[in-house]
């Protein structure tokens, strides 16, 4: 399949999701169940995308695991996104030099 087809399908789907309610729907979603699902989805998506993929990210389990651990600890300390990202990457890089 051509990369252009993938990107086009991806872009059109994402656009329609955003624009249809913007143009067509009026009023509010009242169902507490549906609202709760929509509240949880972003967190659940990010979590499911990160695990287990992060353990293969560098192509080597040990350096990925070290990076993951650093990310978890720095994120727990509420450090900014970019600090968490750079700390995790640096940790993984240094580990890959040693192991």
């Amino acid at each position: 399949m051509s990369i252009v087809a993938y990107i086009a399908v991806m872009a059109v789907t994402t656009y329609l999701i955003r624009v249809i309610p913007f143009v067509a729907v009026r009023g509010k979603i009242r169902s507490p169940f549906l609202n709760s699902v929509l509240y949880y989805i972003p967190y659940a998506v990010l979590s499911a995308m990160t695990f287990p993929a992060i353990f293969f990210a560098t192509g080597d389990f040990v350096s990925s695991a070290v990076g993951t651990l650093i990310a978890l600890v720095t994120a727990y300390c509420n450090l900014p996104l970019i600090v968490v990202a750079l700390a995790a990457s640096s940790g993984a890089f240094l580990t890959s030099l040693i192991v």
Partner: protein, 236 residues
């Protein structure tokens, strides 16, 4: 009119700075998955979303089906429907159908958060300004990341490819610390995703994310429904 536009541009600057680093990580990831620099930038320019793009690139790399792509984007980006819905109630009368069609493209978590916190009705020039700066940050960051991924040694890009996932962790952990319900859903989603990966390898990555995210969110909604006040605290 002009004043509204530049106000939007100004309000978009902090978002742009955040997007620069996240999209840098995305650019590196694209090159690691054997996409071209042009494809990486093309995806960012046409999609303007982080999680959806990462999942999309994984589907492309695995030569997944277009149905998988559509379903995956639908589940991951469904929250934007809610944000558009909410913003549609705040639009100024000058928001014609044409303006809605253009501005709808630029609804992201962060742009939504800023726009929805405005007291006065949203005008088209303000929204164009608010979308323009983050859009430039997102596209430019992807370009730099992809170029960096292309010229830097594999050992460095391997480590850099952790950036994006580390940022995802940095987004999840603070709310999970504050709210036990979010923590449970996050742990459940991760556990399901790991179980699917190892026990049901015939399920591809895109579908694994869909199933893990939907099942954990539905279980969360059934057993720990979220009140309107709790939802009001979150940006989405």
């Amino acid at each position: 009119m002009k004043q509204q536009f530049f106000k939007g541009v100004r309000h978009g600057v902090p978002i742009m700075l955040g997007y620069l680093s996240v999209s840098f990580g995305f650019g590196v990831l694209c090159i690691r998955q054997n996409l071209s620099i042009l494809a990486a930038v093309g995806i960012s320019v046409t999609n303007l979303t982080s999680a959806g793009q990462v999942a999309g690139v994984e589907i492309i790399a695995a030569s997944g089906s277009l149905i998988e792509m559509i379903l995956c984007q639908l589940v991951i980006n469904l929250r934007y429907s809610l944000m558009s819905l909410s913003l549609s109630q705040k639009l100024a009368p000058s928001f014609t159908l044409m303006h809605r069609l253009f501005v709808g493209y630029g609804i992201t978590d962060e742009i939504f958060a800023v726009a929805s916190s405005r007291k006065e009705p949203l005008t088209p020039p303000y929204m164009y300004g608010l979308i323009l700066t983050p859009f430039l940050g997102w596209s430019f960051g992807t370009l730099i990341g992809a170029i960096a991924g292309d010229i830097m040694p594999a050992s460095v890009t391997a480590a850099l490819s952790l950036m994006l996932y580390a940022m995802f962790i940095a987004i999840i952990i603070p709310p999970a610390k504050k709210n036990k319900k979010v923590l449970l859903v996050v742990l459940l989603a991760a556990a399901l995703s790991v179980v699917i990966h190892y026990c049901l390898p015939m399920i591809s990555g895109g579908f694994a994310v869909i199933i893990a995210a939907l099942v954990s969110s539905v279980i969360g909604a059934l057993f720990f429904p979220v009140s309107a006040e709790e939802r009001g605290e979150a940006a989405s």
